[in-house]
């Protein structure tokens, strides 16, 4: 019951943010254009564009990119820095290994759904190794033995079965994605939630809700801790365009593997 309320509340919050931010997405169209064009304009250069990706939802996406920066700046990064300050690096790494090992369930499910035999065996061997020799996932001996992580997700599964990526989409919190991958993200979330509810590891404890909330928070902090990307850290005025290009290309390459 508590789960359901938590999920509902989170969903409502995200929907609210979407609405608010879509409203703020003003564009140049609302302001008068200056009379004098610049000395050099794009019409002058008849050449293909460098690192170009179509982006029909650019106004919304740019607002969201900006929103994520503020979210990082005022919420996530201060929390992550606090966590990094009070926790020894050794413990941080154990936490990361632990959650990464749980994430293998997602990788495994999606390898199976894509009928990738070799990769399924690889990921299963990795998961079993780290769950046993790696003391329940606290360590990652599998990588040392050549069983490297093979990330998979439901977006890639959809791609495997012919779903095109759809428009570029910057999601709140999760960042650069696409219409297809946003759907994939929701399915992956649903699968994890389902497995978790079935297993319900804390059911016998009195404070199960508090413990679950704590674990979920730690998971979120660790996720941000593991991603080195910082919005606008490059200071490059065309960072949005570069990130869009690299995200799309990398993703496109991942779907072909």
């Amino acid at each position: 019951m508590n789960h359901a309320i938590g999920t509902l509340r989170r969903g409502a919050l995200v929907a609210l943010l979407f609405t608010l931010l879509a409203g703020c997405a003003t564009t140049a169209a609302n302001r008068p254009a200056p009379d004098v064009p610049a000395r050099h304009t794009a019409a002058e250069f008849r050449d293909l564009r460098i690192a170009y990706e179509p982006d029909p939802w650019e106004g919304f996406n740019r607002s969201m990119y900006q929103f994520n920066y503020y979210l990082d700046h005022y919420l996530f990064l201060p929390v992550v820095h606090g966590y990094e300050f009070i926790t020894p690096v050794f413990v941080q790494d154990r936490v990361s290994d632990f959650f990464n090992n749980l994430g293998e369930i997602k990788n495994l499910t999606n390898s199976v759904l894509q009928l990738k035999g070799g990769e399924t065996g690889h990921t299963l061997a990795r998961f079993l190794t780290n769950s046993t020799v790696g003391l329940g996932g606290l360590f990652d001996p599998a990588t040392t033995w050549g069983l490297e992580r093979r990330p998979e997700d439901f977006g890639l599964t959809l791609a495997r079965w012919g779903v095109a990526s759809g428009n570029y989409l910057v999601l709140p919190v999760f960042g650069p994605s696409s219409a297809r991958d946003a759907g994939g993200l929701a399915v992956d979330g649903g699968i994890s939630y389902g497995i978790y509810t079935l297993a319900d590891p804390f059911r016998s404890l009195d404070e199960s809700f508090t413990i679950e909330a704590g674990v979920a928070t730690l998971d979120a902090i660790d996720t941000r801790h593991q991603i080195p990307f910082r919005y606008f850290e490059s200071g490059y005025p065309f960072e949005y365009e570069m990130v869009r290009f690299f995200t799309r290309e990398r993703r496109e390459l991942a779907t072909k593997k």
Binding site: A25, T26, T27, A28, R31, A33, P34, V36, P37, A38, R39, H40, T41, A42, E44, F45, R46, D47, L48, R49, I50, A51, Y52, D55, E58, G59, R62, S63, Q66, Y69, V89, E148, R150, Y231, F232, E233, S234, G235, Y236, P237, F238, E239, Y240, E241, M242, F246, E249, R250, E252, L253, K256, K257
Partner: protein, 429 residues
Amino acid sequence: MMRTLTVLFLCLFLAPASTRGADPEYGYPLRSAFGSSIIGTPEKLKPKLPEYVPTRTLELEIFPDRKKPPVFFYDHGLVSTLAYQKKKAPLVFLIASYGASNLSSAQQTLMKTLYQAGFHVITLPSSTHPNFIISASSSSVPGDLTADAVDMYRAMEAAWNAVKHKIEVSDFYLVGTSLGATQAAFVARYDEERQFFKFRKVMLINPSVNLYNSVNMIEALLAKIPGGSNREGEFFNRMLTRFISFYRAGNFVSFNDQFLFAVYQEQLFSNDEAGALIGLSYRVNLAGQIFASDVMTNSGYIVPKNLVLHYTDPLSDYFQVATHLSFFQFFNEYLFPYFRSQNPGLTQDAFIRSQGLKAIDPYLRDNPKFGVITNENDFILAPGELDYLKGLFGPNIKVYPWGGHLGNLEYRDNLAYLVEFLKREGGKP
């Protein structure tokens, strides 16, 4: 970010060059000038550096009254990083290479290396980086070594004022890479006037001898594109397609060292193509400089005058324009007219001559404070300039047989030499 750019944008590489006259003692493996500059140093040949270095990020408000355009809403001052020792130690200022941020991948390696060797470190972006243009350049029009040195010095003082109560410092040192190296020489000379830091040693890594000669060499790489640099977009897309099919065809799992080495070995890109890709990455940096400067000065060069851009406005058209302007076009139409407006008698020839080490030759000649690291095949040096450097710095120059432009910067021998030079006795008493 720029690391991502270097790896992804330019995962390309070329024929291993001839090994004639090779120095068998030098273990850096990539002998092609362009190949090494793009790939850098393979992971296992880098020194072991600490994973964790205690740092503080500084956001320096150098001109508190400056109004920043809304499209740069994220800029809250000049970003600089302090890596600190817990005891009294010498402090090194690090100036980044052309267009690079304070924590570009080369800057991070240098910072960690010097921290490990017992120095405090303060990193600074290049004066051509958009963050510097927006927050630390007095004119927002960088491009003159003398004026930029004054701005850089002001930024260093601001950084020092922000940290001086927290760390104990014995002496000041200065290290610069590429354009940042040439700039370091001008900053050191300005320091002799100001007498504030009194730098003990200054290391120039792969400096440009004359900025205009260097830019000429780089722009010439783009001229090798079929149809010239105005077809760079078509060229980029062609290289990208080739790169992607290579990745797909092979059994690669990620963009790791192994993949990059395969690209190099298979000679996926010809020497001319690799050079053009280096030229293209230069243009991408130049685009940032042009856009930031134009918006800050409201000059109407690529953004219409008085147009107030917001972050949600699409910027792709400006990117297209800014990457297609050559440096010389930008210089003739924007930079030089600005410099002449500041100094009406200025001629182009005199200005270009002033943009290099020869302009401060008497100060640098046999000055024991200076050290230089460069390579025989650094392609930003025009013919004769390497010999000039050797004559200028005598025993204090270290020339490696290969390594291209900054390609061997992270190689363990190079970093060990840097530390050894800074710690050596001598320099300014």
